[in-house]
């Protein structure tokens, strides 16, 4: 699942993920992503932007981590927020990995491999 308010970014990330063999669903903010999960979507991994309208990425991570039934979802922030303190906040909230924009396709693939959702 690719969650980003920019449709350009959803397109770019979606293309990378499809290239890596994933099926991709998209959401333009955290609230719609939660709605997709509630209606049964069960993504292996969510790529989450931070700054989004309605519900931001950090709030989304917090919301997902509160629910036992969503434990299996690997959460990776993909955001332009790049202060160390922000990265620490996101990891503490329950994000498994963090990619800073701008990123290359290789960077996404590397991180997915680190997380074990993609073979090396």
């Amino acid at each position: 699942m690719v969650i980003d308010d920019s449709s350009a970014m959803r397109l770019i990330l979606g293309r990378i993920m499809r290239g890596l063999g994933f099926d991709v669903i998209e959401a333009p903010n955290g609230a719609e992503a939660i709605a997709r999960l509630q209606s049964g979507a069960a993504p292996e991994i969510a790529l989450v932007d931070w700054n989004m309208p309605v519900m931001d990425g950090l709030a989304f991570v917090n919301a997902v981590r509160k629910e036992e039934k969503w434990r299996q979802i690997t959460l990776m922030m993909v955001t332009t927020e790049s202060e160390q303190s922000q990265i620490v906040r996101a990891l503490a909230a329950g994000a498994h990995e963090y990619v800073i924009k701008p990123f290359t396709p290789d960077a996404i693939a590397d991180k997915l491999a680190l997380l074990g959702v993609l073979a090396y």
């Binding site: 308010d5 920019s6 449709s7 350009a8 970014m9 397109l11 770019i12 700054n51 989004m52 309208p53 955001t79 332009t80 927020e81 790049s82 202060e83 303190s85 922000q86 800073i100 924009k101 701008p102 990123f103 290359t104």
Partner: protein, 155 residues
């Protein structure tokens, strides 16, 4: 002492964004002389994000409508002829967001980044002034990147 990113820093960050998502070629975006001398023209488009917190101000990308269309086309992998207003707003907003977020991490924090806004013409922020500005040439046209600071917080 507060470190304010230099014009070179703005250039490096913008180039990193442009190279990664638009060009694949670091030589595609180069410094274009004094920012003061630049006249974007009547059809300027501005992408803007605001910062509040440890630093109060804005980061803006300003360019002509045709540059904005080309940038959107490159970001969406479309031909410029297919690009509509919707793609331009999305692309310029996301580009401003990426440049803004990376500039923010060099400024005194913690600060919050606003959602991007994209407007036709030039943005004037009341009580704020440009503290850094750089003119960059991309595909023969000019892109202005500026960092603004709210006057009340200016050193």
């Amino acid at each position: 002492m507060t470190y304010i990113p230099s014009a070179d820093d703005l250039e490096v960050i913008t180039r990193e964004v442009w190279t990664t998502f638009l060009d694949g070629d670091p030589s595609g975006l180069v410094q274009a002389g004094s920012a003061d001398a630049v006249d974007i023209g009547a059809d300027a488009v501005t992408g803007c994000v605001h910062l509040s917190g440890g630093y109060v101000g804005s980061i803006m990308l300003r360019c002509s409508a045709s540059v904005a269309r080309d940038a959107a086309a490159a970001l969406f992998s479309m031909s410029p002829a297919e690009v509509t207003h919707v793609e331009v707003v999305d692309a310029l907003g996301e580009l401003a967001n990426m440049v803004g977020g990376n500039v923010k991490s060099m400024l005194p924090g913690p600060s919050t980044l606003s959602l991007p806004a994209v407007v036709q013409g030039q943005v004037a922020v009341p009580g704020a002034q440009v503290v850094r500005e750089v003119a960059l040439a991309w595909r023969g046209e000019t892109l202005l990147v500026s960092l603004w600071q709210q006057a009340a917080r200016a050193a």
